[in-house]
Amino acid sequence: MDFSNFLLMRHEIILLAITLLLIVAEVFIPQNKKPSIVHLAILLFGIHTIIGFLPATDGNLFGGMFRTNGLIHLFKNVLNVGVLILLLQSADWLQEKIVRQNKGTEFFILLFSSLLGMYFMISSGDFLMFYLGLELSTLPVAALAAYETANRKSSEAGVKLILSSALASGVSLFGISMLYATSGSIYFNDIIQMITSTDLTILGMILFFAGLAFKISLVPFHFWTADVYEGAPISIASFLSVISKGAAVFILMILLFTVLKPLMHVWENIIYVVAVLTMFIGNLFALRQQNMKRFLAFSSIAQAGFILLGLIAGSQLGTATVVYFVLIYVFSNLAAFGVVQAISLQTGKENINDYEGLYRTNPNLSLVMMLALFSLAGIPPVAGFFGKFFLFTAAASQGYYVLVFLAVVNVTISLYYYLLVVRAMFLRKSDNPIPFFKNKIYMRLGLLITVLGILVLGLYSPLYDYIYELSGIFN
C-alpha cells in the first residue's frame, strides 16, 4: 500500500501528532510558562480544524477496518468545530487551573484522545475498530469527569461514568458477539450480506444498541447523564452532551441505515418507543431542575429523543436531517454551556434563580443564553427551529404523525422550562444580581462563534442542501 492512502486518515494523524506534541511540550515548557500551553493547544487545534475543511477523498484502509467518505469527513469537521469552541470557552478556566493546581496539559491530551476515539468510531468499518473507538472515546472522558480531584462530586461523577460505561460496553460487546455468531464476520460490509432477521440477531442488535443508547443517553439508558453532568467540570459536561453524543448518534445512524438495514422493521419500532420515552422523561425531569448543569443535562436527553425522529425515517432525508440537527445542536448547546461556564467561572453560581435580573447587569450574556435556549426550544428564526422542523418532516414522511404530535407536545413542554430560564434572566428583578463582568477574549470568541452559528445555520439553506446530497451515500 502506498502512503498517500494515509491522507484518508488526515484527521486522525494530525490530531495524534498534536497530542504527542503537547505531551512533549508538557515536559519542556518551564513551570512559570505553563499557562501559555493553553494558547499553544488552541492554536494547534485551530489549525487542525482549518486543515480539516480541505477537500478529502473517500476510501477504505486496512481492508475496510477504516473507511471515510464525504459525510464522515463533514461530521469530523463538525466535531472539530465543536471541540474548538469548547476549548475557547474553557480556556480561562484551564489557565487558572494550571496556575492554581499545576495541571492542564493532561486535559488536552485526554480530550484529544477521546476525540481521536470518536474519529475512529465514526469511520470504523468493522466492529473491532468500532469497539476500540468507543472505548477510546469513553475512558478519557471518565478521567476528565473526575478531573477536579479536590471536588467530591467530580470524583463521584467519574465513578458513575466509568462504571456505567463499562457495563454498557460490556453489554454491547455481548451483543456484538451474537451478531458475529449469526453473520460470521465483524466487517460491516460482510455482515450486510449475511445478516438475517433471526431472534439471535435481533437480540444482538438490541444489546449492541443499548451500548450506543447509553452514550446518546436515551431512556432507559440515560440515568448516568444528569449526575455526571452535574459533577463533572462544565467543559466536560458540555463535551459529553455535545461532542460524544453527536458522534454516537452519527455512528448509530450509520449502523442502523447500513448494517442493520435488513432489521429496520424491528428497530424502527424500538426507536419509536425509545423516542417517546426519552422525550417525555427528559422533559419531565428538566421541568423541576434548579442547577443549570442538571437542567441542560435533561434538556439534552430530550433533544436526543427528538433526534430519533430523524433516525426513524431510515432514508436519505432522515440522514440529512439528523446530521443537520446535530450540527445546529452543537452550536446551540455549546452556547448555553458557554454562558453557564462564563458565569460559574466569575461567580461560581450555577442555579437558575442565581440568574435573576441577569439581563439588567449582563445584557449580552443573557441575550446569548436566550438565543441558545430559543434554538434548543425550536423557535424561529433561530437555527434550532429549522433543525426540529426538518426532523419532524422526516418522521412525517414515513407517516409517523402520532409520533410527530407527541414530539410537538414535548416541544411545548420544553418551551415551558426554557422560558423559566428566560424569565429568571429577563422578567425577574433581583436584589443581589450577578454583577456586571467582562469576559476574556477566548470566551467571547467562543460565544460569538456559537451565536453566529445559531443565527446563520438555519436561514442559510445551501448548507442543508450540501448535507442532503452528501447523505445519499448511506442509502
Binding site: V159, K160, L163, S164, L167, A168, V171, D199, I202, L203, I206, L207, A210, F214, V219, P220, F221, F223, W224, A226, D227, H265, V266, N269, I270, V273, V274, I281, L284, F285, L287, R288, I413, Y416
Partner: protein, 639 residues
C-alpha cells in the same frame, strides 16, 4: 322632483351636528344656538317646498300620488341583496317631513330659551341636529336596511339626549334603559329584515309593497310553524316598531325617558321618534294588509288597542306631569296603531290608514305643544310634580291658554285638530271591529279626564305659595307655544284624505255625525269629571283613591312592569346567567387549561425518585430496559 333639495334636508342638520360636535369647545353658546336654529330653518323651508311641489305641483299622475325614488348603492351583500341609500318621496314621507321639520324647528327655537345658561348648550344643539338628521333619513328611507340604519341612529340620539344630564344617575339609567329596550326590539326588527331579504330577495319598499309584486303574491310559498315566513318577518318587524313606539309590553322605557330635558321629550318622545313605529307599519302597510289576509295587521290592531287602554289607565294616577304626558303619548300611539290595524287598502276602506296618519300629524302638533307648555311650567316652578303646582293661570297666561287649547285638542273637542283625526279613527274602528271601537271610545273619555286633571291641577286648583314668584317664559319659548297652538286649532281642517291614503288615491272623507257625537260626548264627560274633581281644591279625589284602594296602587305603580323587567334582567340574566358563566369560565374552562400545566409539573415531581443517584439502580434500569425491549420485540411485537 328636484332631489338635490330633498337630499339637502337631512344633510344640513348633519353638517350642523358635525360643526357643533367637532368645535364643541370653540363655539360660544349663543352662536351655536343660532347655528342650530338656522340649520333647521333651512331644512324646514326645503321640506315645505318639497311638500308644496309634491302635493300641488307634480306629485299626482291620473289621480294617484306617484312614488319618486332616488338612490345609490351603499354596500353590496350578495348579487341580489344590497343596502341602498336614497330618498323616497311619497305622501307619508312628505307628511313626515313636515311634521319633523315643524316640531323640530319649534323645539330648537324653544330650547334657546329653555336651555339658556346650561354648560352643555352647544352639545345639546349638536345632539338635536343629529337627531333631526337621523329622523329625516328615517322618513326618507327607500328600503328596510336604510330605515334600520337611521332607526338605530335616532335610537342613539335619543340615548344621548335622555342622558343629557349625565351626572344624574336617574338620567343615566333612564338613557340606558331606553337604548337597551329599543335595542332588544330592534333585534326582532333585524331578524325580520333578514327573513324578509332572504325570502323576497329585496329590501326595497317599492318592490315589497307592490300589491302585484312577487313578494306579496308568493307570500304563501314558504311557511314556518303554520304561518307564512313573511308573516313572521312582519311580526318581528312590528316588534321593532312596537319598541320604538312604546307599545305594550315594550313601553317601559318611555316614562323614564322623561328624565331628558323637556324640549327633548317634546321632540323625540312625543312628536317624532316615537311615531317611527307607526310610520314603519304604514310604510309596509300593503305587506301587512295582503300577506296572509292581514294576520300580522290584526296583531298590530290588538296590541295598539290594549296599549292605548293600558296607558290611559295609568296616566290617570300619575303625579309627575311629564309622566302623565308620556303615558298619554303611549296611549295616542296605541290609537294610531289600532287605526292602522283596522284599516283596509282600497279607497274608503283605507280610512283607518289615513286616519292614523292624520292623527299622527295632529297629535305631533298638540302633544309637542303640551310638552312645551309643561316645560315652560317646569321652567317656572322648578318641579315636575302636581303637588308643587296650582293656580298658575295668574302668573303665566300664555302657557295657560296654549295648554288649554292642546288639552281640548287631545280630548277631541271640536273644532280642534284632535277631534277630526280621532273621529276618523273611531269610524274606521267602528266599521271593522266593534270591540276595538269601544276600547277607543273609552280611552277617549279617559284621555279627556286625565288631561284636564293635570290642566286643572296646574293652572287652577289650590293656590300654592311659591318662594319666588313664577313668571311667564321669554318670547323664545312662548312663540313656539303660540305657533303650535295655532296649528292645533286649524290642523284638523286639512283635507287629509285627499293627500295621504293607503292606495295613494285620494278619497272623500266626511264626518260620521252619530259616532262623532258619541266621541265628543264621552270626551266632555271626562272633562266634566275632571272639573268636578280638580277645578276647586276638594277631597273627592282622595275619596276615589281610597275607594279604589289597591287598584289605585297598582296603576300608580304602572302595574309593576318595571319591577318585572328589573327582575328578569338583574335577577335572571345577570345573576343566573352571566355570573355563572363568568364563574364557569374561570373555574372550568380556564381551570382545565391551567390544570394540564399543573398536572405536568406534578408528574415530574412524582417521578423524581427514578433518578435515585444509586449507580446500581441505574445499572438495573439499564439491564431491565435491555431485557424488556428484547422480550417485547422478539416475542410480542414481531411484525
Amino acid at each position: 322632483m328636484n332631489f338635490v333639495n330633498i337630499i339637502l334636508i337631512p344633510l344640513v342638520p348633519l353638517a350642523v351636528f358635525l360643526l357643533l360636535g367637532i368645535f364643541n369647545q370653540k363655539i360660544k353658546p349663543s352662536v351655536s344656538g343660532y347655528i342650530g336654529v338656522a340649520g333647521l330653518l333651512v331644512s324646514t323651508l326645503l321640506s315645505l317646498n318639497t311638500a308644496y311641489q309634491y302635493f300641488f305641483v307634480n306629485g299626482k299622475a291620473d289621480g294617484v300620488y306617484q312614488t319618486f325614488v332616488e338612490k345609490t348603492v351603499w354596500m353590496n351583500f350578495t348579487d341580489t341583496l344590497a343596502i341602498d341609500m336614497g330618498v323616497q318621496i311619497d305622501p307619508i314621507s312628505v307628511m313626515m317631513l313636515l311634521v319633523v321639520s315643524i316640531v323640530s324647528l319649534m323645539v330648537h327655537i324653544y330650547s334657546r330659551g329653555y336651555m339658556k345658561g346650561d354648560d352643555g348648550y352647544t352639545k345639546f344643539f349638536a345632539f338635536l341636529s343629529l337627531f333631526s338628521f337621523s329622523m329625516y333619513g328615517l322618513v326618507l328611507a327607500t328600503n328596510l336596511f336604510q330605515i334600520y340604519i337611521f332607526w338605530e341612529l335616532v335610537g342613539v340620539s335619543s340615548y344621548l339626549l335622555i342622558g343629557y344630564y349625565y351626572t344624574k344617575p336617574s338620567a343615566v339609567s333612564a338613557a340606558k334603559k331606553a337604548f337597551i329596550v329599543t335595542r332588544f326590539a330592534d333585534l326582532g326588527f333585524l331578524i325580520g329584515i333578514l327573513i324578509m331579504g332572504f325570502y323576497t330577495g329585496t329590501y326595497d319598499f317599492e318592490t315589497l309593497n307592490n300589491p302585484e309584486g312577487s313578494a306579496i303574491l308568493n307570500w304563501a310559498s314558504t311557511s314556518f310553524m303554520g304561518l307564512s315566513v313573511l308573516t313572521w318577518a312582519l311580526i318581528l318587524i312590528f316588534i321593532g316598531g312596537a319598541g320604538k313606539s312604546a307599545m305594550f309590553p315594550l313601553h317601559i322605557w318611555l316614562p323614564d325617558a322623561m328624565e331628558g330635558p323637556t324640549p327633548v321629550s317634546a321632540l323625540i318622545h312625543a312628536a317624532t321618534m316615537v311615531v317611527a313605529g307607526v310610520f314603519l307599519v304604514a310604510r309596509l302597510f300593503p305587506m301587512f294588509y295582503f300577506v296572509e289576509e292581514g294576520f300580522a295587521l290584526n296583531i298590530v290592531a290588538y296590541v295598539g288597542a290594549f296599549s292605548s287602554l293600558f296607558a290611559a289607565i295609568i296616566a290617570i294616577t300619575q303625579t309627575d306631569i311629564k309622566r302623565v304626558l308620556a303615558f298619554s303619548t303611549m296611549s295616542q300611539l296605541g290609537y294610531m296603531m289600532l287605526a292602522l290595524g283596522v284599516s283596509g287598502y282600497e279607497g274608503h276602506e283605507g280610512l283607518g290608514y289615513m286616519a292614523s296618519m292624520f292623527h299622527l300629524f295632529t297629535h305631533a302638533m298638540f302633544k309637542a305643544l303640551l310638552f312645551l307648555c309643561a316645560g315652560s311650567v317646569i321652567h317656572a316652578v322648578h318641579s315636575n310634580y302636581l303637588k308643587d303646582m296650582g293656580g298658575l293661570r295668574k302668573y303665566m297666561p300664555i302657557t295657560n291658554i296654549t295648554f288649554l287649547i292642546a288639552a281640548l285638542a287631545i280630548a277631541g273637542v271640536p273644532p280642534f285638530a284632535g277631534f277630526f283625526s280621532k273621529d276618523e279613527i273611531l269610524v274606521a274602528a267602528f266599521e271593522h271591529n266593534k270591540l276595538i271601537y269601544f276600547v277607543g271610545v273609552f280611552v277617549a273619555g279617559l284621555t279627556a279626564f286625565y288631561m284636564f286633571r293635570i290642566y286643572f291641577g296646574i293652572f287652577w286648583g289650590k293656590d300654592t305659595k311659591y318662594e319666588h314668584k313664577p313668571h311667564e317664559s321669554p318670547i323664545s319659548m312662548t312663540f313656539p307655544l303660540l305657533f303650535l297652538a295655532l296649528l292645533s286649532i286649524i290642523g284638523g281642517f286639512i283635507p287629509f284624505s285627499e293627500f295621504v291614503t293607503a292606495d295613494k288615491a285620494g278619497f272623500e272623507a266626511h264626518l260620521n255625525y252619530p259616532l262623532a257625537a258619541i266621541a265628543v260626548g264621552v270626551g266632555l264627560i271626562g272633562i266634566a269629571l275632571a272639573w268636578i274633581f280638580y277645578k276647586k281644591e276638594n277631597d273627592l279625589a282622595n275619596k276615589m283613591v281610597n275607594f279604589f284602594g289597591p287598584v289605585y296602587q297598582w296603576t300608580s305603580d304602572k302595574f309593576y312592569f318595571d319591577e318585572i323587567y328589573l327582575f328578569i334582567t338583574k335577577k335572571i340574566l345577570f345573576d343566573r346567567v352571566s355570573a355563572p358563566i363568568a364563574k364557569f369560565d374561570k373555574k372550568y374552562v380556564d381551570g382545565t387549561m391551567v390544570g394540564i400545566g399543573n398536572k405536568t409539573v406534578l408528574t415530574s415531581e412524582k417521578i423524581k425518585g427514578m433518578q435515585s443517584g444509586k449507580v446500581q439502580d441505574y445499572a438495573f434500569a439499564f439491564i431491565a430496559g435491555v431485557v424488556i425491549i428484547a422480550l417485547v420485540f422478539i416475542y410480542l411485537w414481531t411484525d
